[in-house]
Subunit: 324 residues, 2 copies
């Protein structure tokens, strides 16, 4: 069995052996640039770990792992245009460094290359299963992004709607990566389903954790001042839960703050005080733990030997308890 | 065997049975809108004709035909953003009717649905072949679009570069549609290759014909004043060939006109006179006929019975001699 670092090394080796073409450089340089920005490579790692639950031949899942990473980067390039984001991992986004047209077209070709890597899996029957799963999740990610954009325009969003949106936009791909990796090892449909559900539940829990960290994280460990989401009037678990629980007056007060510009003095402190009045941080932690339990119940139902599950369990547990 | 109209009816029936989901409407309505704008549905028709060369069971190729049409519409949605085109088939483009973000995301999901339809082909081994071919051509179309955008920024483009660009951007998909349709009928790799080459050569010939029509077409039949490409300073076969053949003075004169705004008085007449001095229209016709011959040589090499080829031969010949 391979450690996380060894799996990352296998992935880096696969990526290095499958660079984008050099020409036309206007099309492929932005793809190479985006991938060089790095990131945790969490999704491909999940694919490899999903495979390793059932076999030591994790190499079988490398094309799938890289396809998932390419798909993720395609969504980032296009989302950055839609969000008008100037920076990604501290570097200019593709549409900032080049332009919107380049970012559209390079994102498109990156999605096509994601499919190309899926086709490198050798067994034709498995390839078709993988593509079905990949397509279902790819469409779902687009739907999640659409809901996210729709929610920005709406006055109120229910907690159920928010949870569904983050499941589609971010958690589905985590579940899909695990299930696809397992399928490469020949795992049964049942095991793949449990792994997909595990990844989805854990993924939603990650996002609740992220929402919490943005307001309550230790600035010394997070590396930035808390309250970014509050300043940008982002709808998060915290704001949605607070609006759900607040009485009429506090609701009005919260809505007032959520419609002020980012530079309004005292905004973060005022909103945080409103959160605290309804113990929103505790609600976030409780929901996260509930999701975590439900996630691990799914993992318990997977037929892979317990000792093969250790690495995945450890990584997900660590991610759910990270404080930065 | 089915006539063109019968094939179109089969396709319309398939499309009606596979609508986009209703929700989220912000994501899927633009997809439905784009497809409702119509168009000749040439590419899916080629896929069905490619299949019909080898079998009467053209239904086998319907998912592929529709996948090709969805792919084509995905490229149109994104190309319209890149070209800042306000209208498509007389109606507002997706990014004009909605906005750029919507057009990006709806285009993305349409590409994903193209792959989804490819997976509806029942034989797993054929599906993988189809996907390989589809991916190769999809990446090529993106490369062609990149070259097209690059050429707009360049002072000079060689005829060879131009021909390669139009092959990638528009002709490759015609060849791919034919080959994929044939593959659905179980055609050999050799036959698929010949059909792909046939489609590519015919496709480049279509574009040369389009370039010629835009300047030399009969306004009464084309339905609009000629010279649109000249007004917009588009690099076409006509301008590139004229720049290649012109002496120093006329070259300078042509370059002068190709850098004037669209509303410059006398522009179309002046450029057309320069074209005529070097018999560019005749060069266009000669190249078109040369490509047509090469195309039909490829079709001659296809092992399908001659009587099954009639419909395809007739349609392509008509398209190459259309005057509007």
């Amino acid at each position: 069995m391979f450690s996380s670092n060894e799996l990352q090394a296998l992935l880096a080796d696969y990526a290095a052996k499958h660079p984008f073409p050099e020409r036309p450089s206007g099309l492929y340089e932005p793809c190479t640039y985006m991938l060089a920005l790095g990131g945790k490579r969490l999704r491909p790692l999940l694919a490899l770990m999903g495979c390793q639950l059932f076999t030591d031949e994790v190499q079988r899942a490398l094309p799938v792992a890289w396809a998932v990473e390419l798909f993720h980067n395609f969504t980032l390039i296009h989302d950055d245009i839609m969000d008008a984001a100037p920076l990604r991992r501290g570097q200019p986004t593709v549409h900032t460094r080049w332009n919107v047209n380049t970012a559209i077209l390079s994102g498109d070709v990156m999605l096509i290359y994601a499919y190309e890597h899926l086709l490198k899996v050798s067994d034709a029957a498995i390839v078709v299963d993988l593509l079905r799963l990949f397509n279902r999740i790819a469409a779902e990610v687009c739907e999640g992004q659409q809901h996210d954009m729709d929610f920005e325009q709406r006055e109120s969003v229910s907690l159920a709607e928010y949870l569904q949106m983050i499941e589609q936009k971010t958690a589905a791909l985590l579940g899909g990566a695990l299930a696809m990796g397992a399928r490469c090892a020949g795992a049964s449909a049942d095991d793949c389903n449990h792994l997909e559900k595990f990844g989805r539940l854990a993924g939603v829990a990650f996002q609740i954790q992220d929402d919490w960290l943005d307001t309550y994280g230790d600035p010394a460990r997070v590396g930035k001042q808390p309250g970014g989401d509050i300043l940008q009037n982002k709808k998060t678990f915290l704001t949605i839960k607070a609006l759900e629980l607040a009485g009429e007056n506090e609701r009005a007060e919260l809505l007032y703050w959520l419609n002020t510009p980012a530079n309004t003095p005292g905004k973060v402190i005022a909103v945080r005080q409103l959160f605290d009045r309804y113990d929103i941080a505790a609600h976030a932690t409780a929901l996260k733990e509930q999701l975590q339990c439900a996630a691990f119940e799914q993992l318990d139902a997977v037929s892979a030997p317990r000792e093969r599950q250790t690495l995945l369990r450890q990584m997900v547990t660590q991610l759910l308890h990270r404080e930065y």
